[in-house]
Amino acid sequence: MWFFIVRRVLYAVPILLGVSFVVFLLMKMVPGDAADILIPPEAPKEVAAMIRAHFGLDQPIHIQYLRWLRAMASGDFGTSIFTNQPVADELFGALANTLKIALPAGVLGFSLGILLGALAAYYSGTWLDKLFSAFAITGVSLPHYWVGMVLVAIFAVMLNLLPGQGMGPEGFPSTWEHAKHLILPVVTLSLIPMGVVSRLIRANVLEIRSMEFVSALTAKGLKGHRVLFHIMKNAAPSALALVGLQFGYLLGGSILVETVFNWPGSGSLMNLAIFRRDIPVLSATILVLASIFVAINILVDVLQALIDPRIRR
């Protein structure tokens, strides 16, 4: 078992290197040099060259990569071109804000999804199944940013019940005043995970239910919900894999929801960075988000191997 974990973690190292390489490549493909933004157009050539040298942009490309990689690995994410603040501070603050909506959205989406999926499978063939499946497929086909807009229109504009913008005060939400800012973004963000998870759970449960061991359990006299428990245990590994993927969506896809609700999370940070051409902020954010995703996938793989002994080689 430990072999598996170690091997899995070791495998992530070349992946992370590859990820950093892709991000670096993208950075280098940005039209125009990174320094072009800083160099005033009328500056003489020597000044331009000096600025370039200051940022290490005159070095050969693999040296630049290695220097950048070393900086990233040691936590020095550079300075924002725009605000002149260290990127790391901005980034981790924004990330915390994103987690404030991503985590509840994940929990909501998965639990609702598992519930809907299991119910749909349990009542499969009846109108209840069709209803739940319709929910699920709607959740997957709806552009969630649009749903956000619609929710704002209903709850903020028409009914004036919930705020349609902004995060409210900093820190952990402890009061209703504070928490009500979270409701709409969380619901919006949870739609797609709910839809995806519910469809997968339904398909898996139906497939497992048709396996012979389930008939054997029922024939032995096990009650319906106990059999369901056994079924869920078998469905768990692939559901876990999906959960990992969906977390990736929640982290990376929050940008759309954050834009709608003006939520100051990592997504908004990325958005701003794109428009300000603030390459250090943008590349650091992408790198950190991707690394978190890699870590989540490792965790998911290990959990899967724990539950399903067939996966441990």
Binding site: V30, I137, W146, G253, N271, L282, L289, F293
Partner: protein, 300 residues
């Protein structure tokens, strides 16, 4: 039943059997599809949308770029603008039909391109195995390490917005999942005995892939690609929503949503309309993909 009847019935039964003889896989898939009312309805709806979008110059009532600030944000039903106008007074109906062109292009083209590249890579990786497989799949793993949306946004964000970059970004985002499923299905089919038998008759790999592997893997890959289109629509519109995709003054459903964001406080109905189109189209592709999957899941 007299002997006469039995003798008369037999040729008919034989004729029926002969007529049904040799029903190939794809014919049976088509048969099941045609019997599936939901999928047929959805495909018809999609066909309507595509026709509507292609016929934009004929059915649009106004120039999608022309607008007057005097008639901004009018509700549906306003004389002359049956779906209302947007925030600078452009006719919404015309912008929706014209915008559909770019929205559909940005959704279908990347999946098509990714299918070409990804399926080829996956076929090679799945058939060859060994070192070739490792190289291809490990490279895909690196791209897989990015959440899809993030990758698309990263590419568009770095390279800049615009139609070409959007299609490129989405294509790159969709190649890894297609490679993965192609490789899985190809490796599975390759282990089947009829492929061994084909090798035993002395055929070369390319011939075996073309004749034996392709018609067995195409089904699952196509089903997956169709489901990808439904995601692609939402992603493409999402990119434009962020300002990363299609640029103004072009019409595109996601871009329209972005432009109308502030309008939600003034005229919510109009602001929501482009999203309805995205939803309907994505839903249709989703249902179509589900229908294809059940039709192709023919238990032989």
């Amino acid at each position: 039943m007299s002997l006469q009847d039995t003798i008369a019935v037999r040729p008919v039964a034989e004729a029926v059997q002969r007529a049904q003889a040799g029903m190939g896989y794809w014919s049976r898939v088509r048969q099941r599809l045609l019997a599936d009312r939901v999928t047929i309805t959805v495909m018809a709806l999609l066909a309507c949308i595509i026709v509507m979008v292609l016929a934009a110059p004929l059915i649009a009532t106004y120039d999608p770029g022309a607008g007057s600030v005097l008639t901004r944000l009018k509700s549906p039903g306003h004389p002359g603008h049956w779906l209302g106008t947007d925030e600078v007074g452009r006719d919404l109906w015309s912008r929706i039909v014209y915008g559909g062109r770019l929205s559909l292009l940005c959704s279908v083209a990347p999946v098509g391109l990714a299918l070409l590249v990804g399926a080829s890579l996956g076929l090679i990786a799945g058939y060859r195995g060994g070192i070739v497989n490792s190289i291809i799949m490990r490279s895909m793993d690196v791209l897989y390490a990015f959440p899809s949306i993030l990758l698309a946004i990263a590419i568009c964000g770095m390279l800049g917005s615009g139609l070409g970059n959007t299609i490129l970004a989405l294509t790159v985002t969709f190649i890894p999942p297609i490679v993965r499923i192609s490789e899985t299905v190809t490796a599975q089919v390759r282990s089947f005995e009829f492929v061994e038998a084909a090798r035993a008759s002395g055929a070369r790999p390319l011939s075996i892939i073309r004749f034996h592997v392709l018609n067995n893997v195409l089904g699952p890959i196509l089903v997956y690609a169709t489901s990808l289109i439904s995601i692609s629509i939402i992603l493409a519109a999402g990119l434009s929503f962020l300002g990363l995709g299609v640029t103004p003054p072009d019409a595109e459903w996601g871009l329209m949503l972005n432009n109308l964001r502030q309008a939600i406080w003034v005229n919510p109905l109009v602001a929501a309309l482009p999203g309805v189109m995205i939803f309907i189209t994505s839903m249709c592709f989703n249902l179509m993909s589900d229908g294809l999957r059940s039709a192709m899941d023919v238990r032989i």
